[in-house]
């Protein structure tokens, strides 16, 4: 992995800012564009964490394929602006999310304070590319072969299901 603070902070800034962009832009197209930035930055995160394969998959699926189908569906539906109203529940939500963050941070701190070796952090942060690839191969084809088959089945079912719904003409 690449242990460089500058890259990390730039990437973090970019990802959080573009998430805000997704949230607050008025037009759906702009939020889609910001989402592409988010997904690519996620791929950068995977890369600096040492998983090149995940980064490539993330960039290919979320950077290209997902925005294309979302964009196609936006084009099909030709969205117009609607007037949206705010509600009381939002304040409760913000409080709840604050509690959530606090709880999570507290849990982390406590686990660190209790026993420094709880997470068993490795000293060596350098990961060999070929190790990762062989681990992938072992994982997909030996350890998690059933999960892998299940995912393939799921994809097939989605294709068949959408074809069937289309044929029935709902």
């Amino acid at each position: 992995m690449i242990n460089n603070p500058i890259i990390f902070y730039i990437a973090s800034f970019l990802i959080i800012m573009s998430t805000f962009g997704v949230l607050f832009s008025k037009n759906v197209i702009y939020s889609l564009l910001s989402a592409i930035v988010v997904f690519f930055t996620g791929a950068i995160f995977f890369y600096i964490l040492g998983s090149e394969y995940n980064a490539i998959i993330q960039a290919a699926v979320y950077g290209l394929a997902v925005p294309i189908i979302i964009g196609v569906s936006i084009m099909f539906t030709s969205l117009k602006k609607d007037t949206y109203q705010e509600k009381m529940i939002h304040y409760i939500l913000i409080i709840a999310s604050g509690i959530f963050i606090l709880a999570f941070v507290y849990l982390l701190m406590m686990s660190m304070a209790m026993n420094p070796n709880t997470f068993n952090i490795r000293e060596i942060t350098q990961v060999n590319f070929f190790d990762v690839m062989s681990a992938f191969a072992k994982g997909i084809f030996i350890n998690y072969v059933w999960a892998f088959e299940l995912i393939s089945l799921l994809l097939t079912i989605v294709i068949v299901g959408i074809t069937v719904i289309k044929r029935r003409g709902v």
Partner: protein
């Protein structure tokens, strides 16, 4: 200043929370779908972080995040198709109008 595991975990947490708050606040269905994907991204970053820092041999987290990406793509495809059908009925993408099946 060194970058530790907790920095990455915090980024994952922030993405997840922004996604979950956004799904509750935002009224456009397409935006909700995008935000769900961002939530999944946060979860994936958590997985990969733990796998990198705590497990140097098997890399289970990498593989699991790969599966998550696949499932997320599938779910998005189905959800967009349902959205398309609903839009033809309602002529609106406001989530408050999608209150019946």
């Amino acid at each position: 200043m060194d970058i530790t595991m907790y920095h990455y975990l915090f980024i994952g947490l922030v993405l997840f929370l922004m996604g979950i708050i956004g799904t509750m606040l935002v009224k456009s269905v397409v935006k909700v779908l995008i935000l769900i994907e961002i939530m999944l991204l946060g979860v994936n970053i958590n997985f990969v972080t733990f796998s990198t820092f705590c497990d140097g041999i098997k890399f289970d987290g990498y593989i699991l995040s790969l599966f998550y990406i696949a499932i997320g793509a599938v779910e998005l495809a189905v959800a967009l198709y349902i959205f398309y059908l609903m839009y033809k009925k309602k002529q609106s993408d406001n989530i408050e109008k999608y209150n019946e099946l």
